[in-house]
Symmetry: C2
Subunit: 490 residues, 2 copies
């Protein structure tokens, strides 16, 4: 028991320091003075150094060799620490430092290339990033699949082959649905008008409260990019406002509230342990997406939201609840992943997943990326990419070394589909409550069946435990076809 | 050179982590959600543990033994690190932990005792604190004076005997001045009215800018207690508002801006080195006090401030500049140190200095503190203490183990007196500029002659270098007698 207890005590401080580093990130995006950025870089480097030293501390190896967990919860804690220690120690310090250096340069070059619509200016540094990521993957994979080794960082236990099967089933039906929608004679109206910032931020707070966000252990601020940060008793989200499009603020807020409620919903006894955070990117995204889409863009909830927005902003250009529901769920052609609707979003992700697998395997070179992107885009979306900032330069991810991250977005959507099916089967009166702005039947079920367990189970088992069935893409597809078939009268 | 360079690299991260810990303190007092306090305690403990481990790291001993400084600046850096390392390693870990534990309890008991006006409830735990502080002092003093050993933590190099001589000269003339003022037939009017929070906070920003606060590397927020936090490129202050007394916000702001401008004024090449922070509490207080009092409560500056406040709040109850100047500098009987004016403030501090020297020496017991306090108060102020919250329970300091801290407040006032005399001798047109709200002749002199040097010299040498003469209490006394003699027509 001594080794286990010593390890947990050490880990507790590591978790607490991780929270401190996260808070520093929040500060940087919300309240930090403009001219403090350079010093902040030194501060972040210092605390990152402390965290890295703790995560590779040789005492961890000794404790892990000796520790005996007292129960299944303890076993789960050891599993997380062992996994982190193994991964951290497999990557040579020289390689980690080189990755940090090159991705920092690459991010700057990516931003400039996007600005200048100049893919060629980004290709050489992307080549460098890819070479280093392949080296990292090889160190982690121990002879196994390189892409799986990278994916595992964001979605522990997930395998590219499984995702490929799942996404392979999604793609043709989504392409067909997208075509049918855009070809339909019935097209919902768009919400138009001017929406002042102050009532938008009030609406954000109203929505957060409606979804169960705990303001006593969290806060909402404005920032350039919406995000959720922190775990346990201090979870902070940001949102943004666009005075010509209030849905930007509404759905950014609900999305981040989904992430935040997951963190706030984890059992308090897991706080500052390896179980005290959302278990993976995919499961995290399942929470943000089910809050945002399956609940937040549902017909019953939209009825309530229509009333709230009419009260906040006066009569809307879409003046009845049905037109409002159509406006919320309107599908428009577009190039940008982050602006995509429920139907097209996954097509954007699938494109990136397939391309980055080729990049990691070395079957696609950085120099050929633009052509591959544009060809695939036209195949799935039906029209050509007009410029690189609308194509292969739109996302920051690859420049900073995030390879294996994109698929977790669609995995989250698939999981959200499964969870919503389970909720509808298990909980009576969900829609009736949503029509009154009461999300609690749905969110309480999520808290009890998924959120509270934090990192207790693997990501996939977390979903299966909550749903009672192994996750598949079918519920998401059925949901999308039914919902949009009705809206677009297909 | 290798040892020196290694040491500086290590120290740089320590300084950066110190900034992170400070930022966490700022967060706690300004933006932290209410319900996050317990987790924040764990986070603070974790980063404090990291800092303590770095400050007592045995490699420091090796580096310090080997390091050769390349120049005088390097020598000064080594001096700071050596001093910190010596102090940190002299106090046994067991004693440091016990002090942390007992003072945490004592602070709670002090707050309750003050609330209940019950000195007896505080005496036993104060006894415990005193016993531990004496033990700490003995460990630090190495046979020398116990009080000096504690004082040295806040004012390196200062000696109680020197302060005693200085304060001994202050006390009788301040007591006499106080009596003359309160006995004068001429009493200035008080500013009355209602002052809304929003224009008060706007005024705070105007004043900060007028004193040279750099908003590009700093910010101002509201908090319960005004404070300044951070060094280098990220210095943040807080202020507060009282809708019946705008001077509370005005002078809290100017005071904290003084602290902040000292930090912002330090040469950028000292950032994240041991020289990159204000050199001592006394020198820090000299900057906050000269900004607040010698400049901010001066007749010429008050003329400008009167116009500003009339513009912000409409016609004032003290409608001419002379009456306004009287209201700003009005001396009223009172019990509370933090609310005291320039004349009485030091009498409050001198009382505490004399009592805490007796407490540390063991010549005064906690049980006898209240009587000693009340006797001394009546001697110096002319009327008895009415209740413990207005007497020996008013300050938090002793409960949290801050013994040797109080005298730095008066030392700061003495230093401010010296600095203002030097400015008047060295800089032409200071008052003419202040009359237009332009503090730059005075503040530029302070930046060039004092602030930029950070921790390069000892505290006393820092003042002497700036002034060109050894600091004494005479300029402060002369200034107070002249200023208040004129206002009160003595």
């Amino acid at each position: 028991m001594a080794a286990f207890d010593d390890l947990m005590l050490f880990q507790r401080d590591t978790e607490a320091l991780g929270q401190v580093a996260g808070r520093l990130g929040w500060d940087q995006e919300t309240v930090m003075p403009r001219g403090s950025a350079e010093q902040r870089g030194d501060e972040m480097a210092a605390i990152s150094g402390v965290l890295h030293a703790r995560r590779t501390d040789s005492r961890l190896g000794d404790w892990l060799a000796e520790a005996k967990a007292p129960d299944a919860t303890g076993e789960a804690m050891l599993r997380h620490i062992r996994r982190s220690y193994d991964r951290s120690t497999k990557v040579p310090a020289r390689l980690a430092a080189e990755l940090a250096r090159v991705t920092s340069i690459a991010q700057g070059k990516w931003a400039a290339a996007r600005q200048d619509e100049d893919v060629a200016a980004f290709v050489p540094v992307l080549d460098e990033v890819l070479a280093l990521k392949r080296e990292e993957a090889a160190a982690l994979a121990g002879g196994g699949d390189l892409y799986d080794a990278l994916l595992d960082d964001y979605e522990p236990g997930a395998k590219a082959a499984d995702l490929e099967a799942m996404f392979g089933a999604l793609r043709p039906r989504l392409v067909a649905l997208r075509e049918a929608i855009l070809g339909s004679a019935h097209q919902p109206a768009t919400l138009e008008g001017h929406f002042a910032e102050t009532p938008q931020m009030e609406m954000a707070r109203t929505l957060a409260a409606a979804f169960g966000f705990d303001f006593n252990q969290g806060r909402i601020d404005k920032a350039v990019h919406p995000f959720s940060s922190g775990s346990g008793a201090d979870v902070r989200i940001t949102t943004r406002t666009d005075e010509s499009d209030p849905f930007n603020c509404v759905y950014s807020t609900i999305h981040e509230v989904g992430h935040a409620c997951y963190e706030q919903g984890i059992a308090p006894e897991y706080a500052l342990t390896p179980l005290g955070q959302g278990v993976s990117m995919g499961v995290h995204e399942s929470q943000s997406r089910i809050y945002e889409n399956q609940i937040g863009r549902s017909r019953p909830f939209n009825g309530w939201l229509h009333d709230q927005m009419t009260e906040a902003f006066g009569a809307l250009s879409v003046s009845d609840a049905e037109a409002f529901y159509g406006a919320v769920n309107k599908v428009k052609p577009g190039y940008i992943r982050t602006e995509a609707d429920e139907v097209q979003y996954n097509l954007h992700v699938l494109l990136r997943f397939d391309l980055e697998r080729e990049l990691v395997a070395g079957r696609l070179e950085a120099a050929d990326l633009e052509e591959a992107w544009n060809t695939r885009f036209e195949t799935d979306f039906g029209y050509p990419v007009d410029k690189p900032s609308n194509g292969c330069l739109q996302d920051v991810h690859w420049s900073v070394g995030l390879l294996g991250y994109f698929p977790t977005y669609s995995l989250g959507n698939v999981y959200a589909g499964c969870l919503m099916q389970a909720i509808h089967e298990a909980v009576p009166g969900v829609d009736e409550a949503l029509a009154k702005g009461d999300t609690s039947p749905a969110t309480t079920w999520l808290r009890e069946n998924l959120q509270q367990h934090g990192g207790l189970r693997t990501p996939r088992d977390t979903i299966e435990h909550a749903c009672g069935f192994a996750p598949t893409e079918a519920p998401l597809l059925d949901y999308l076809e039914a919902k949009f078939g009705e809206i677009y009268r297909l």
